[in-house]
Point group: C2
Amino acid sequence: MQPNDVQVLAFDIFGTVVDWHGSIVREVGALYPQVDADAFVLAWRAGYQPAMQRVRSGELGWTLIDDLHRMVLDEILPRFGLAQLGEDERRHLNRVWHRLDPWPDSVQGLTRLKRRYTITSLSNGNIGLLTNMAKRAGLPWDCVLSAEVFRAYKPDPATYLGVARVFGLPPQQVMLVAAHHEDLEGARACGLRTAYIERPHEFGAAHPKDVSPQPGNDLHCASLMALADRLGC
Amino acid sequence: MQPNDVQVLAFDIFGTVVDWHGSIVREVGALYPQVDADAFVLAWRAGYQPAMQRVRSGELGWTLIDDLHRMVLDEILPRFGLAQLGEDERRHLNRVWHRLDPWPDSVQGLTRLKRRYTITSLSNGNIGLLTNMAKRAGLPWDCVLSAEVFRAYKPDPATYLGVARVFGLPPQQVMLVAAHHEDLEGARACGLRTAYIERPHEFGAAHPKDVSPQPGNDLHCASLMALADRLGC
């Protein structure tokens, strides 16, 4: 690939730029020490794709991730002995997705990449969530793009092609950066360039993830710093 | 007003944060010295509201500002002896709206305001235009919101209420900052707070604008630095 052709880097967020597992384990562990925080956060995240699938299938109308997270949360709380949580506590806990910590390389890697490229989020998370997260974590986005802008969840082609359209570029001048192969496959099918980022501990150190290279991606990097190295930033 | 209630400041862009008249006069003057650049840019801008009105009325389907700017440009070029401009020159000239310079107080004022508030654009300009402009000019947005996100042009209530909805806030916790009374009126009618910014030379020093206070705004400031002073940033 010729990295100079690429103008825009679009980043998946949950797992790629921020550590949802570690961040939520820390917060749930502090708030509710009686709960198995690791099992709790895995159960919460396990409800994420099925909830989005209900939107994709049309069973649910367009629904923001904040509201999908809340639906799943309400469902799992009784299983963890937290059925008694009131509205304020539920609302506060649900907003933990706005308070996720970046991986150690994320802020510095993005700062380097921003020198040469336009860097934007492309997340299924809603705009408010992504903006609050970025402000707290210091993620230096040029632009906050979300499924909310396109009213479609990844891997719907409307999201990947939407980034190219927003910037008036052909798809091959946009690169999706993600830690998830199915996301990258969706982008590739639309003509975008792709970079895989290894996040072996996305599901926690106790549940290592296979991060071996798969064919088809333009780049395979251990971190956003390594991506900046590869792109000469 | 109690400024501590406000969480989000949403900024009008053309004329409020950036100097469209001066920037385009400089660029057109350099590219086409035979043209009366002041008259040219005023004619271009004069076509802006009528073009948006064609979208608001439904005569045109949803159309981005980049495309509306281009329609107006194609219309006025013959009047200024530039009918011979080819496609590449027209496209380059049309993108001058992505290259507008900020007013001298904008970057420092926004940087101060960003410490305490979430700062976002709320412009009829499209997302790509706003992002390219911000990157070039150093405008430190937390978020880039545009009519494009809401598929409605200001002063449609969907835009002002859209900002509140994106951040999950009641309208009175969002303040619109603008140099145009009709924009502020639209926001006020939706329950937002409002701050008027004086930009007496929006249409050039030769065409001073009345910037005297009008009733109803929460704040009336000479610049974004003065707004930062008033909001204690």
